[in-house]
């Protein structure tokens, strides 16, 4: 049954080096998303972050999810964002309203509160460090493993998702076709 048990923190230095590289890329992309003024560059930075996250999914043995992430997030959703930005053809003067003046101090305070909360939480939850949990490499995260779980145990939520998508499609068509007075 247990062919190759892979510990969480494998001792190979390559994985940790790659983790730090792609984590840094994800953070840089996220900062560019919220700091740059051009929406096209924002969208492309979001692609950088989502792609780096997909690589991290591979380190976490979620290979199928990494493929889904690249296809759906970095592919379809990003095309939708960039299409909207291009379609609306936002002019330069309409982009320059984005200034960091009024809510600056309040939001910085808010962010610092969240950061300190997370750091404190992580400090308290030392017991959550489950590094020793080995995982059998057989089906973990592959199409077979995820599909088996998705189509047996979680069949009803999976089918309900299709209802959600139909509702979303109908909603989008209704919103887009509505006469504007």
């Amino acid at each position: 049954m247990h062919h190759a048990l892979l510990r969480f923190g494998s001792k190979s230095g390559l994985e940790s080096i790659l983790f730090y590289i792609f984590a840094a890329l994800a953070v840089v992309g996220a900062i560019l998303v919220i700091s740059h003024d051009n929406p096209v560059i924002n969208a492309l930075s979001l692609v950088l972050t989502l792609f780096s996250t997909a690589v991290l999914f591979i380190f976490l043995l979620a290979h199928f999810l990494a493929a889904i992430q690249v296809l759906v997030y970095a592919g379809a959703i990003m095309v939708l964002f960039i299409f909207t930005v291009m379609y609306l053809n936002l002019r330069e003067e309409s982009l320059s309203f984005d200034s960091f003046n009024k809510p600056m101090r309040l939001s910085i305070l808010f962010v610092l509160l969240i950061v300190s909360g997370f750091i404190a939480g992580l400090g308290f939850k030392k017991g959550l460090m489950l590094n020793g949990a080995g995982v059998s490499l057989d089906d973990f995260g592959t199409v077979r493993g995820v599909g088996d779980l998705l189509f047996r145990t979680y069949l009803l939520p999976f089918e309900l998702t299709s209802v959600l998508i139909v509702v979303a499609i109908i909603g989008v068509v209704v919103i887009a076709k509505r006469r504007l007075d």
């Binding site: 969480f8 923190g9 940790s16 983790f19 984590a23 994800a26 953070v27 996220a30 900062i31 998303v33 919220i34 929406p39 979001l46 972050t49 989502l50 991290l56 979620a62 999810l65 992430q69 997030y73 959703i77 939708l80 964002f81 909207t84 609306l88 936002l90 982009l95 984005d98 960091f100 809510p103 939001s107 962010v111 969240i114 950061v115 997370f118 959550l128 460090m129 489950l130 590094n131 949990a133 995982v135 059998s136 973990f140 995260g141 493993g145 995820v146 779980l149 998705l150 979680y154 939520p157 998702t161 959600l164 998508i165 979303a168 499609i169 909603g171 989008v172 919103i175 887009a176 504007l180």
Partner: protein
């Protein structure tokens, strides 16, 4: 130093905070939606990290559901953005106060 689940959780919380900061500070409606995607993505990373640490694939099922929901949300949100822009000629959320929010 081996990479543990805490590394992934710290990265996830950093990405979440950056996304929340974008939602709070930015005034462009499209960029607010992008920051929202950033927050969802950070939550997905935490789900996958816990799934790996616990050796339970249920977290990955949750991520599939979250990706589906966020795809539907982005489609509806961008349709609303296009509708609002053709109606009001702006995407500044300080000007778009039809709902008095």
């Amino acid at each position: 130093m081996a990479v543990s689940i805490v590394h992934y959780l710290v990265l996830s919380s950093i990405l979440f905070i950056i996304g929340a900061y974008g939602v709070i500070t930015r005034r462009n409606l499209i960029v607010v939606l992008m920051s929202l995607e950033l927050m969802l993505n950070a939550a997905n990373l935490a789900f996958v990290a816990f799934s790996r640490a616990l050796g339970d694939m249920t977290g990955q099922i949750f991520v599939i559901m979250a990706i589906t929901v966020s795809a539907a949300e982005v489609a509806v949100g961008l349709a609303l953005v296009v509708s609002v822009y053709t109606h009001r000629q702006t995407l500044n959320i300080d000007i778009l106060r039809m709902l008095k929010g």
